[in-house]
């Protein structure tokens, strides 16, 4: 019953250190010289995956990031937190929309064959809240978004979701996609030796 969990993380603008500024050409946000790191809700997704591993529900946590070369930093952070391995789909300088990211993730899912895909409900720069949902659609898997609580029992995933109308509890069969909401958990601080180890790990 031990699952493989795939966590999709985006290397995004660290909202807690900078104010988001729109580019002068109004075609995006300023990313030059701006502090980037693992998207806030994606980090919660990594944390949740690690907790599933600690509970014995998951046997392996694999982090994946579809993004530019620097996305490696986000993956190393996931490894430092405790992920077993990381996959980097290097997109170079090209900026991808959620649909394209979802397509790339679908290929990774086909290769890795996880029972559970976790990701943040939305990235803190794009704020699209589309990637997780599109991925589930493409895979024809059930999905639960804005998760505040996650429990796995006998191949069934029970998620408490936060919606505008209140809390909703749904049950899905494995395999499934879950996107992390604000109240899912609080990400652990990474211990220094782990940071140093992750820095050295090869791709």
């Amino acid at each position: 019953m031990a699952y493989r969990v795939l966590v999709a993380c985006k290397h995004a603008i660290d909202l807690s250190t900078v104010k988001i500024r729109i580019k002068p050409d109004k075609l995006g946000v300023v990313t030059q010289g701006v502090k980037m790191g693992i998207a806030y809700f994606d980090e919660l997704a990594v944390e949740e995956a690690l907790r599933l591993k600690e509970k014995g529900v998951a046997s392996e946590v694999i982090a994946v990031s579809v993004g530019p070369a620097d996305a490696q930093k986000t993956l190393r952070h996931a490894l430092a937190m405790g992920a077993d391995s990381a996959v980097h789909v290097n997109t170079g300088d090209v900026e991808l929309a959620p649909l394209q990211v979802a397509k790339a993730l679908r290929e990774i899912v086909r290769e890795v064959e996880p029972q559970l895909v976790l990701t943040g409900k939305q990235a803190t720069d794009g704020d699209y809240s589309q990637t997780g949902q599109m991925l589930a659609g493409m895979l024809d898997w059930p999905q639960a978004t804005q998760a505040a609580e996650l429990n796995v029992e006998n191949d069934s995933v029970k998620v408490v979701r936060e919606t505008d109308a209140g809390l909703e509890t749904i049950s899905m069969n494995i395999p499934a996609v879950v996107t992390a909401g604000l109240r899912l958990n609080e990400a652990r601080l990474v211990k220094m030796p782990n940071i140093m180890k992750a820095k050295k790990e090869e791709n």
């Binding site: 807690s16 250190t17 010289g33 693992i38 806030y40 601080l189 990474v190 211990k191 220094m192 140093m196």
Partner: protein, 426 residues
């Protein structure tokens, strides 16, 4: 803090320099004692009237007058709250050169009048260096219009230095010209858990040597402080239980450069020091979480009981020994808790003793014991908090006879009638 209370019946809120001038001239002529007040966040009763002194609050003189982008110098009214000044500067990509826990309430004029130190003195230096000019109203109502934005001006005695740290005893500061550093592009925070203070001393030494120009803060706190903060604010201890915790912050212009420097430093520390546990903040929210542990100690203590706060400069290796000494002195007491934390990079410890209530007995046990202890090391009985009411009778522990005599003479020159903040400082 609740420790000092006066009997003033009048608070005035001038909005212009002219009004301050008129007020002081009137008070000086009539020999009316005056207590200048900024954000009222001081810890030595300097902003609280002792008897019925008239309070002159700078709260309503709160305009930021000008910012010169070419030089990074801001000119501000004294009553501007430090955090507001920082907000204003952030739009230009600059920040204030001081940072302290009270930043949401303290005013820049008060910061200058008390020569506030804070968390970043290690990096940006003291206000004696970053204040480029002052506008001060003298006790007799005349004004010194010293608001220059010059980095260098060697034309005679540097009078503004007298007012910086004068705690309202020589005049009222109404305007400040302040040199501001740029907002850093990269900030990093690391927290170490160590088994002894000796390791903390070693880490701060190595941090200065290896992180050099990017080191921006080097703080420490002890196990009792960590336990109290976590219990009081219901937060989890982020790293394993340790005797002493050291917080290191770096600030720089290039994230990759700083990351690689910090990582090398961490590797070296793991080899050279006995580190129990450690963590590095990955995001801004994690940085805030780590800083919270250090910055909330004072509130946690004052919200938990009656606090005796001491602020000493001691030779760095000896800093924590005073905590052990006080614990030993109070070993027969059932109640008090002793906390030690502060700016290990600056040799400045905040020693706090917390009891259920204030008692003369406890105070007599602590004083003059702690002052004598500090004096024996040639330390300062007030590293950054100032003299105020609290230490007016104790300056002699850190200043010689001749220094005290000269200070009294200076006070006479500026404030012949003794109306400015009497019973405090000198």
């Amino acid at each position: 803090m609740g420790r000092y209370q006066g009997d003033s019946t009048c608070v005035l809120f001038p909005t212009t320099v002219d009004q301050v001038q008129q007020l002081l001239k009137y008070c000086n002529d009539k020999r009316i004692a005056v207590c200048p007040q900024g954000g009222n966040t001081g810890l030595v009763g300097g902003s609280v009237p002792v008897y019925d002194e008239i309070i002159i609050s700078m709260e309503k003189m709160n305009s930021i007058r000008k910012f010169d982008e070419a030089s990074g110098v801001v000119i501000s009214d004294a009553g501007v709250v430090l955090q507001d000044l920082d907000q204003y500067l952030s739009d230009y990509g600059y920040t204030v050169p001081i940072d302290l826990g009270a930043k949401g309430s303290c005013q820049i004029g008060g910061n200058v009048a008390t020569n506030a130190g804070g968390l970043r003195l290690l990096r940006y230096g003291s206000l004696h260096g970053t204040v480029l000019g002052l506008e001060v109203v003298l006790p007799d109502g005349r004004v010194i219009n010293g608001l220059k934005t010059l980095r260098k001006d060697n034309t005679g005695y540097d009078l503004k230095q007298l007012f910086i740290g004068s705690e309202g005893s020589l005049g009222i500061i109404t305007g400040v010209s302040l040199l501001c550093p740029p907002v850093p592009k990269s900030i990093k925070v690391a927290l170490f858990g160590l088994s002894s203070f000796k390791d903390a001393v070693l880490i701060q030494q190595k941090a200065k040597l290896q992180l050099q120009e990017i080191l921006s803060a080097c703080e420490f706190f002890d196990n009792s402080s960590m336990k109290l903060v976590c219990e009081h604010f219901n937060v989890k201890e982020p790293i394993e239980d340790s005797s002493i915790y050291v917080l290191i912050e770096t600030r720089g212009s290039n994230d990759d450069h700083d990351t690689s420097k910090l990582n090398s430093f961490l590797e070296n520390m793991y080899e050279e020091c006995d580190i129990i546990d450690g963590t590095v903040a990955e995001s801004g929210s994690q940085m805030k979480a780590i800083w919270f542990l250090r910055e909330s100690i004072a509130s946690a203590i004052s919200e938990s009981g009656a606090t005796y706060k001491y602020d000493f400069s001691l030779p760095t290796p000896e800093m924590y020994s005073i905590v052990d000494a006080v614990r030993k002195e109070l070993s027969n007491y059932p109640d008090p808790n002793v906390y030690g934390y502060g700016h290990i990079g600056d040799g400045n410890i905040h020693l706090n003793i917390m009891a259920k209530e204030y008692s003369e007995d406890l105070q007599n046990k602590l004083e003059p014991f702690v002052y004598e202890y500090t004096s024996n090391f040639n330390g300062s009985i007030s590293a950054e908090h100032g003299i105020g009411q609290m230490k007016a009778d104790h300056i002699h522990y850190s200043k010689s006879e001749i220094e005290l005599e000269i200070m009294k003479n200076i006070k006479q020159i500026f404030d012949r009638n003794g109306i400015m903040n009497p019973y405090k400082v000198i």
